[in-house]
Symmetry: C2
């Protein structure tokens, strides 16, 4: 959607809005994760109320993905998406040894040095 | 502090609580970042109201650190910490080409497969 951020840093959003923090530890092996992860990012970006997504995974296997949404209703809609639900089930059974999901209201935000190319 | 998580995944926290999402893109070179980063994590963990911290940085240079706190007052206290303030200034001038800080209220949280060793 126009103005949404996929990859990189989601900037220029105006609080209040909502964030879903997904912190995970991967199991060994890919098991279809890479392809499914790319598909889920593309699918999320097509949902109503999607504002952006940021993701990082370090060499210790800990990953953090934060998606941003304009309302709690948008988050609930994404959670109900059938393809997303099926992929979450694969995540629970195949890809993650542990994860935490936190649904947050972003109260305020600020940024440091202006974005460079 | 007892019960706080440093490294790994912060689990078992009871909502509501607060999260500070710090997303950044690093400049080239270390420039003292590694040592200062470790010191800041240790200092944060010693602050009143600290609940835990999670961090990941991928090979594309995008990093996400989320710290968890029991109140907005705890976040304000950490922000006022003199050593933290001085290190933030080094971050702005040396380490980050861009960052976003988002202060959030965690409304609800849930977890997937039980933590394994």
């Amino acid at each position: 959607m126009s103005g949404a951020f996929v990859g990189g840093i989601a900037a220029g959003l105006t609080a209040p809005y909502y964030a879903v923090i997904f912190t995970s530890r991967r199991t060994d092996g890919d098991n279809g994760y890479g392809e499914a992860s790319d598909a889920m990012v593309a699918l999320a970006a097509s949902q109503p109320g999607f504002l952006g997504i940021e993701s990082a995974r370090g060499s210790d296997g800990i990953g953090i993905t934060v998606s941003y949404w304009d309302s709690e209703e948008a988050i609930a809609g994404w959670r109900r998406n059938a393809e997303h639900s099926a992929t979450r089930e694969r995540g629970r059974s195949l890809w993650y040894s542990h994860y935490e999901v936190r649904v947050c209201r972003v109260e305020r935000a600020y940024a440091g040095p202006p974005a460079r190319a």
